[in-house]
């Protein structure tokens, strides 16, 4: 082994403390890259395979009722590659273990070949449909698991007002329900409350009075059709309008797909931004470290050159430091990345259901991570080497010119300066004289703190979102969907149900809203006068009364349609007489999930030309009498779906905590390593540079704590400066995030509490102090007798 390699190894071992801090930061950068990249790729590939194999559809058209002939006409269009008709109904079902009625979505599938059909299903357990019985059902795997339902169990469904017993012949998953939610309004899957039930095609049509008809058309388009899907759907809408087109959904707006897509695009952004930030910090810290190292080895560099080593040889030798650090950081990072990917895949498994969704090692990502880490390491080292190499050997061997002396600006404030004591003087001078190092420290502290701040703010925002949507806007205890539109009489009946303290009607009408060339299809919610169980709110949380005429739009919807209060929009119901009306926008409210519009119930019914109608009910329920209510609802023939808001809230809250532990925890730990690492790194460099000075103080009789106090003060100054910058920086980051997440599906409110600021400061200080403890121990174990002998 060439002797310089031996020197390299010994030098590395000698500065192991400082190197470890850099390796840790480097490792986290690479780890973030490998971990996020691996998760992203596995998720993406699982999705692509799944979609391809089980023929995930490009469009869904839900209708009131359409004859087969209509679907056949659509199928003949050139851009339609293939399509399938089916019947879809939400039903209430009796699940043995559930104290409350559960909503299930009944979907018809071919009795054979259901894996190969469009939106095919992948059987997880059981043998699937038999040939001899009709009353068979295949359940969503998660739903069956959540309720402890086994293959062979019996399940009761109310179909077309008749209670029927079904045999569970299998459990399955499907590309339509990778994210098992009812629709875009559901934030998080809850298989205890919602599941899909697949029944035989022919049987379902018979029982549900859909012989030779369907209420949903779903299909795949040719590549050309896929590019113009909106235009295709608009034409399909015209073709099918006689049959009551309730909704036209391209793949991009399909609920499960949207959630998956958003997660993937978020992941793609994080997978570039996060590693970028960490590696940049690592390069900065390493750069400072190398600058010191090269400066400390100035004489050695000069000597090597005097002996006849070429610049290249010396450069390579010093680059070795960076390369080794990069390599070790990269290897660490691969380990961290594998752990991170495994944890993320485990987390995703709770939300996303794929036939094969296993975590696997991605060698190319690891290799890239390693190379990038090594490159950053070498880059960080390069500047240090070049600074010394520029010198002629004779110059390099001369003792380093004394550190820039002279006063720092602060010293002109004599009265203040004199109060500070000499150790603070030393700390201040050192901070201001090593500007690059101090600035890097300030920057790292600011960045780390800002990331922690962002993580905490994100958590608060989620909590606020859930509270806003599920406590403030929706205030009911139980929501009940009706099978068909019902009259006022149903409301009076509902008030008689056991335990009901208050009942309010809702009318949901799916309409196209158009303003200029912009349009959106959504359900307008009609609220009765004096409603209190749904309380739309302004951004500041104040409840908004729904005026007796006109529409109240949520902020995002108004933005998408480019309308303001006072403007007119065109409203066209998707069923009934479908007359276009121009209605005024009379108010604006805020919401963070989906797109909503509200109107007075009577006004909305009037627009439809119907007298007071309703299609769902909201209840406030006496908690003691809930069980009675659930029992009564089960035998209510008009009831279609039921939502117990307390369960929804609990599920969301639980899931929020579980996922936050991973994502927010990881962010805080990563940021903590930056704060800890950069603080410790500069303190250790400082100790190395000032052995003589610190040792002299020890000889003079100062204790280790007093000597460490100088370095701690210095670290504190840098940290405090970083803290000042952290919050503006953090604010930029969270507001950027809020802007990035301002989507149709959901939006992130910007919630900044004073508490969060304090928590952030507490957290960041914790990591910083941890580093100071190590600084203290280093100073205590300083061999100061040796130190005063050191030749500068």
């Amino acid at each position: 082994m060439p002797v310089l390699h031996r020197k390299l190894i010994r030098d590395l071992v000698a500065s192991v403390g400082t190197l470890l801090t850099v390796i840790a930061i480097m490792g986290i950068g690479t780890g973030a890259y490998v971990g996020l990249g691996t998760s992203q790729r596995i998720l993406e590939e699982s999705r692509a395979d799944y979609y391809r194999q089980y023929r995930f559809a490009d469009f869904w058209i839900s209708l009131k009722k359409a004859p087969r002939s209509a679907a056949e006409r659509l199928a003949a269009w050139p851009e339609v590659a293939s399509l399938r008709t089916r019947v879809v109904f939400d039903v209430l079902l009796d699940v043995p273990d559930a104290a409350r009625p559960v909503t299930g979505r009944l979907l018809s599938v071919p009795s054979t070949g259901y894996a190969q059909s469009i939106n095919g299903i992948h059987l997880q357990r059981g043998a699937g449909f038999s040939e001899d019985r009709d009353e068979e059902v295949i359940l969503s795997e998660a739903f069956a698991r959540a309720h402890g339902i086994e293959v062979g169990d019996r399940l009761h469904l109310v179909l077309n007002r008749r209670r029927q017993a079904f045999t569970v012949v299998g459990t399955c998953i499907s590309p339509e329900y990778v994210y098992l939610v009812r629709g875009p309004g559901d934030l998080i899957p809850d298989p205890t409350r919602f599941g899909v039930l697949y029944v035989k095609e022919r049987y379902a049509r018979e029982v549900l009075d859909f012989k030779d008809a369907c209420n949903e058309i779903t299909g795949q388009l040719t590549p050309r059709g896929r590019r113009q899907v909106e235009e295709f759907l608009a034409r399909a809408d015209r073709l099918l309008s006689p049959y009551g087109v309730l909704d036209l959904v391209p793949r991009s707006r399909q609920a499960s797909h949207s959630f998956l897509h958003d997660e993937l695009s978020g992941l793609a952004v994080s997978a570039t931004v996060m590693p970028g930030i960490f590696l940049a910090v690592a390069a900065l810290v390493l750069n400072i470290l190398m600058l010191r190292l090269a400066r400390r080895q100035r004489t050695t560099v000069g000597t090597l050159k005097a002996l006849g080593y070429s610049d290249l040889q010396v450069t390579l030798h010093f680059l070795g430091f960076g390369v080794v650090v990069g390599l070790l950081g990269g290897l660490c990072g691969c380990g961290i990345g594998l752990g991170l990917a495994a944890a993320m895949i485990r987390m995703y498994r709770q939300f996303f259901e794929f036939p094969s969704f296993a975590y696997s090692v991605q060698p190319d990502l690891m290799l890239i991570g390693l190379l990038v880490s090594v490159a950053f390491g070498a880059l960080g080292a390069l500047r240090g080497v070049l600074a010394v190499l520029r010198l002629q050997p004779a110059e390099a061997m001369r003792p380093t010119p004394p550190e820039r002396g002279g006063r720092i600006a602060l010293e002109r404030l004599g009265w203040l300066w004199r109060r500070l004591g000499f150790r603070t003087h030393l700390a201040l001078r050192s901070v201001f004289r090593n500007r690059v190092r101090s600035l890097t420290g300030v920057f790292s502290a600011a960045l780390a703190t800002a990331i922690m701040f962002m993580a905490l703010v994100m958590y608060d925002s989620f909590v606020y979102l859930v509270d806003f949507q599920f406590e403030q806007v929706v205030r009911s205890d139980v929501d009940l969907g009706m099978r068909d539109e019902a009259s006022r009489a149903a409301l009076l009946d509902a008030r008689q149900l056991p335990g009901v303290q208050r009942a309010e009607p809702l009318l949901g009408v799916t309409c196209d809203l158009r303003h200029g060339y912009r349009s959106r299809r959504l359900a307008i919610t009609g609220l009765s006068a004096g409603h209190s169980l749904t309380a739309p709110r302004a951004s500041d949380g104040a409840p908004i009364r729904i005026p007796s005429t006109g529409l109240v739009l949520t902020r995002k919807l108004a933005e998408l349609l480019d309308v303001r209060v006072g403007d007119l929009v065109e409203l066209r119901p998707v069923r009934g007489r479908r007359t276009v009306r121009r209605v005024p926008v009379t108010g604006e409210v805020d919401s963070y999930l989906g797109l909503d519009a509200y109107a007075d119930l009577e006004y909305l019914a009037g627009l439809l030309g119907e007298s007071s109608a309703l299609n769902s009910l909201q209840f406030r329920v006496d908690p003691g009498a809930q069980a009675d209510l659930f029992r009564a609802v089960r035998s209510l023939p008009v009831a279609q779906g039921m939502n117990v808001m307390a369960d929804t809230r609990a599920n969301i809250a639980r899931t929020l905590v579980e996922t936050s532990v991973v994502s927010i925890g990881v962010m805080i730990v990563f940021a903590g390593v930056i704060a800890f690492g950069s603080t410790l790194n500069s303190a250790l460099i400082e100790i190395g540079d000032r052995v003589r000075e610190l040792s002299t103080l020890r000889v003079l009789g100062y204790g280790p704590a007093e000597v460490a106090g100088i370095l701690v003060r210095q670290g504190l100054l840098v940290f405090l400066a970083g803290l000042l910058l952290a919050f503006p920086l953090g604010y930029l980051m969270v507001s950027g995030l809020a802007r990035a997440y301002d989507k149709e599906l959901y939006r992130l409110p910007l919630v900044i509490r004073f508490d969060t600021v304090l928590q952030t400061i507490g957290l960041a200080s914790g990591f910083m102090l941890l580093a100071q403890v190590i600084v203290y121990r280093q100073v205590r174990s300083l061999d100061w007798l040796e130190g005063i002998k050191v030749k500068e």
Binding site: K7, L307, G308, D311, Q392, E395
Partner: protein, 237 residues
């Protein structure tokens, strides 16, 4: 001038340093020939330009005026990599503060030099020459100043240089140790005919050289031939 050809020749070689506004002339235009095989001492007080001259000769610095001839090539006109080769093959350096690599043992420090050239002395043999075989695996911190300087000598001679440049090699040593180090140098000159350039501010040391050049304020003041140099072991101050 002597009958022997000069191995190195300074011709109007000068070096000035610019420190912001002021220019410091470390060495005014100097003419000096170093003969092959001679033991030449450069004597002068601190700041007189001795190290500057040595650096010009050793190829660790470039003159700002004039030429440094090595044979018929001018060091002043050499490119960086040529200068590197010159340092590698022609000169051996001994520094006032030894300049050993602290994280390498004595033997490894010699190896740092031997790995550079094709036909070096074995590191062990070089250490043997300076009487340090028993300390081969010691780190610089475990050696006395004199021992460190002997390691530095071993490192310099192990490359088999054509000229040995020693800048105050005994500056930090006591008399007894200094005699030891100087004896080694004198022995190398006498036995192997190695050209040696010794720099010192101590007139007593100059007596061991065959010729003494005095420097004062960056100028060559005078040259004195010393036909009967004293033995290094008789040096005293």
């Amino acid at each position: 001038m002597s009958e022997t050809d000069p191995i190195l020749r300074l011709e109007g070689a000068g070096r000035t340093f610019r420190m912001g506004e002021v220019e410091v002339t470390a060495l005014a235009e100097a003419d000096l020939a170093i003969r092959s095989g001679e033991f030449l001492a450069i004597l002068g007080p601190s700041g007189s330009g001795k190290s500057t001259l040595l650096n010009l000769v050793g190829g660790t610095d470039r003159p700002t005026t004039g030429h440094v001839w090595f044979g018929d090539t001018d060091l002043a006109a050499m490119r960086d990599h040529e200068l590197t080769l010159y340092r590698r093959r022609v000169v051996g350096f001994i520094f006032q503060f030894y300049n050993l690599v602290p994280t390498l043992t004595a033997e490894e420090n010699v190896q740092v030099a031997t790995e550079l050239v094709g036909d070096p002395l074995a590191p062990a043999a070089a250490l043997e020459l300076v009487g340090l075989s028993s300390r081969a695996s010691h780190f610089p911190a475990q050696l006395s100043g004199g021992e460190q300087q002997r390691v530095a000598i071993a490192r310099a001679i192990a490359k088999r240089p054509r000229i040995l440049l020693a800048d105050e090699p005994t500056g930090a040593l006591d008399l007894v140790t200094a005699r030891q180090v100087l004896s080694i140098l004198q022995g190398l000159n006498r036995r192997e005919g190695l050209t040696i350039l010794l720099i010192t501010h101590n007139p007593a040391l100059a007596d061991i050289a065959g010729r003494v050049v005095r420097l004062a304020s960056g100028r060559l003041a005078d040259t004195r031939e010393n036909p009967n140099p004293i033995d290094a072991s008789d040096v005293t101050w």
